[in-house]
């Protein structure tokens, strides 16, 4: 298939994209949504199954309360209104890895609606509307490759069948691929924060489809949309959207029409390809699931779940600025993940110096982890250990420069800061008597500089401080040296 001649940026700039995302998120429950089978990943095929998730004749679903509560938390975090009564509905279609011949999803009465999430894109903050959040079960997996007779047979693994999902549908509020990227990032951040999903895209815990259309800037009507599937990494999402937007603009520019269809993103070519219309001409014949009662969420249940909600990233950001006096940017960085924010808070708590804690976490620690390709949860230096190091600086027991060396040793050995300080005798000298002796020695050795200072060339002070530090082999407290020197030189 030949690719389109894609339009140049000038042409593209005359158009605006309208994008809505449908995101499937696997909930982090231990058991499946309609039965008690475990949701664990990577077990031998067809071992985590029972009559219910195998769709055996006579088996009936029972809704998992934990899945409902996680979906409620997601709804609350995304500012949605939770329906007091929602309904499960059957979505009927045939597929070999769909053992019941239908998914138990939600249709016209979803769990939650009318929400939004705030997204920072291009330096400004925008609200992206959330149309709805609904619960459903996942299908199994068709394995088309990897068996000696794969040319003739498809194998089906039903371990994933019945895994709980929520589908989060956005309003068509997204205008650029960057914004889509930021939306998905923000969504992932929030869902991980509240612990309802790992959002691990590689494991398929977060899957994304997009509805994309374009229109000339200033136009208020929507253009014809295409649904783009298989956007299963952040990189693919951006690439696919950029390609699709360009493709649609070029069609319109050349006087052709965009047709409403489902297109599949091919990561190898970076293009989207239309699927044969037959494959997506579905009439799902939704109807209310007769095997399950309407899902009734009482005020009491909802408020109990709300009380369990952890602090959300935006709330935490605000609190960090307010409580610790952090800058907006620092607060943003330190709340990127729940783990990082908790690590920082622990360091701040142990050290009693939040600003220094922030600098260390974002500076030396982040650099060290980046160099090793490690996550905060894998840090060789615990929050308590780093807190102790920062405390030693704040109390003046070691200098910042010494701390950097000590930190490198902590990374390498896992030892505590205090243990290293004591073993190597790395105490900072703050004692006035000791420092005065050193200062006197330096002043005797540098009469010319003393003369210069006294005649008004006060900038020579820095040189003298440096000499004192050198004499102390770096262990003198620079602030104290500074103060004492000034006093001595009058």
């Amino acid at each position: 298939m030949s690719s389109h001649v894609l339009p140049d940026t000038e042409v593209l700039a005359r158009y605006e994209a309208v994008i809505g995302l449908e995101v499937h998120v696997q909930l982090a429950t231990r058991s499946k949504i309609y039965c008690a089978c475990p949701t664990s990943f990577g077990d031998p095929p067809n071992t985590n199954v029972c009559p219910v998730c195998l769709g055996l004749p006579g088996a009936l679903p029972v809704l998992n309360r934990a899945a409902v509560e996680m979906a409620m938390k997601a709804a609350m975090a995304l500012n949605c209104r939770i329906r007091p009564v929602s309904r499960l509905a059957r979505k009927n279609y045939f597929y070999p890895d769909l053992p019941k011949g239908y998914q138990i999803s939600q249709y016209d009465e979803p769990l939650a609606e009318h929400g939004y999430i705030e997204v920072t894109s291009g330096g400004s903050r925008r609200r992206i509307g959330i149309t709805r959040i609904h619960l459903e079960d996942d299908a199994g997996k068709s394995l088309h490759e990897g068996f000696s007779d794969s040319s003739r047979y498809t194998y089906v693994d039903l371990n994933r069948s019945g895994t709980p999902l929520i589908e989060i549908v956005s309003e068509p509020d997204i205008r650029t691929s960057e914004e889509a990227y930021e939306y998905l990032t923000a969504l992932k951040q929030v869902l991980q924060y509240i612990g309802v999903s790992t959002c691990d895209m590689e494991k398929g815990h977060l899957r994304c489809d997009a509805n994309v259309s374009v229109r000339p800037r200033g136009e208020t009507k929507f253009g014809t949309k295409a649904e783009v599937k298989n956007l299963n990494s952040f990189r693919f999402l951006k690439q696919a959207l950029d390609y699709e937007i360009s493709r649609q603009v070029s069609l319109i520019e050349s006087g052709e029409e965009v047709i409403q269809e489902t297109r599949l993103y091919d990561p190898d070519t970076g293009e989207t390809v239309g699927m044969r219309s037959k494959e997506h001409a579905h009439d799902y014949r939704y109807f209310p699931e007769p095997d399950l009662l309407p899902l009734t969420i009482s005020d009491e249940w909802r408020e109990r779940v709300r009380a369990e909600m952890p602090e959300l990233p935006a709330q935490k950001r605000a609190r960090f600025i307010e409580t610790y006096g952090l800058r907006e940017y620092d607060a943003q960085v330190l709340t990127a993940t729940r783990e990082l924010s908790e690590y920082f808070e622990r360091v701040a708590e142990v050290s009693g110096d939040a600003r220094a804690a922030a600098n260390w976490v974002m500076g030396d620690l982040a650099a060290a982890l980046n160099a090793e390709g490690k996550e905060i949860s894998e840090s060789p230096v615990s929050a308590e250990q780093l807190g102790e190091l920062v405390a030693l600086i704040s109390k003046g027991e070691i200098s910042g420069k010494m701390a950097k060396d000590i930190f490198q040793k902590m990374l390498a050995t896992g030892e505590s800061a205090r243990a290293i300080v004591e073993r190597e005798g790395l105490r900072q000298i703050s004692d006035t008597g000791e420092l005065e002796a050193l200062i006197n020695q330096v002043l005797e050795q540098h009469p010319r500089q003393v003369e210069q200072y006294r005649s008004g060339k006060t900038q020579v002070l820095g040189y003298l401080v440096g000499q004192v530090m050198k004499a102390s082999r770096g262990q003198a407290n620079p602030a104290a040296v500074n103060k004492l020197l000034r006093a001595k030189l009058g």
């Binding site: 009559p51 006579g58 009936l60 029972v62 009927n92 070999p96 939704y286 109807f287 007769p290």
Partner: protein
Amino acid sequence: MTLALEIPKLTIGSIREGLLKRRFSATELTREALRFAEAENPKTNAYLHFCPERALSAARSVDEKLARGEDPGLLAGVPVAVKDVIVTKGVRTTAASKMLADYIPPYDATAVECLDAAGAVILGKTNCDEFAMGSSNENSAFGPVRNPVDPERVPGGSSGGSAAAVAQGTAVVSLGSDTGGSVRQPASFCGVVGLTPTYGRVSRYGLIAFASSLDHIGVVARNVSDTATLLQVIAGRDERDSTSAAVPVPDYMAALNGGVRGMKIGLPREYFKDPDSETSKLVLDGVEVLKRLGCEVREISMPHTEYAVAAYYIICTAEASSNLARYDGVRYTFRSRDSETLADMYRNTRGEGFGAECKRRIMLGTYVLSAGYYDAYYLKAQKVRTLIARDFTEAFREVDALIAPVSPFPAFKLGEKLDDPMQMYLSDIYTITASLAGVPCMSVPCGVTSGGLPVGMQILTRHFDEAGMLRLAYAFERNRA
């Protein structure tokens, strides 16, 4: 050993007495019951297959309990037949369909677990209309069932095998399923008692679904007392069926002996449009018996009755089209050979695996749920269903029970209505209203026609008032004649 002669006359009570007095062991009884049933079965084709190993193992366990002096359970040693739409662990369960001809379930339905726990001995699985779709038992992939009263006639359906086995004496009691009359109508045709409890009273877990919002497990017995005992055993909340109700189960056997004097009974005039028919007359004769017992009888109206057949056949086919989607040739079902593509495999498997009636209902149901027709059919039918349920609520403000015919006519001849599905659907007219409303209902024999064919009288009561219904049926059974 003269047990063989007694088999068709056994009751739950007589078996209990025989076991406790050591006149026979459960194992002896089971061997004899199996021998008798296997010998008699060719006359009716009521059983599709027997499960002697499971039966004898259940019997042995009863004998061991008796030997240890333990309570062997309410149904100890009782030979039971189970409709083949109710799954039985390790015992082939076919739903009378080619699609499941070789299907052996890995689990027991909840009702079957209850039977086991009560010491019942399941002899085998009974024939029925394929996936319980039919009113004559002629839609079985394994041949029709013949009515033990007259082998030229149908036993009714879809639980034809369960009713015929009990009437024939090859089982003492049986489990059936009722979606639109499938327990009551065959019970009426075969001259036995058939009861369908309130929707939610008995767990549907393990009942192969035809139309989930209408499906009930029901019971068949030769008398009201055995009916009550069997219901006692299977009734109750089941965590595995979200639609089962957490309503306490009363003592149904104890409830039988309460009086019926002063009970208010309604005769819905829409159910007696043909008062001169033999069926109507026999039912009205039955009503006279109840009057003699002190019941107050009045005519009432259930104005939405005439829309019930249409609403029922939209809702049940819609649900069936979805419930039967899982029979696709991928896993445990029959699979058509030599299909080139996945779509072919689906088409060929379902084309060859399902019988005509199943296909008709799948197509109807697919149609009424499809885009553009949903509101006109499915949604409209649900509204009618609400109105029909309201008819019952209104009626039960005035009366304690309703009496009606079960079927407009007695057992008809094999093949007589087979080519006219519409006629067949219309014959469900008196039974499907209760199915739509979910109220308990039963058929009690109330006489025979001039041609010697049994006729059942239908009793319907308020939701979860099976006790009141059984009491009325018991009083009627003891005082008719």
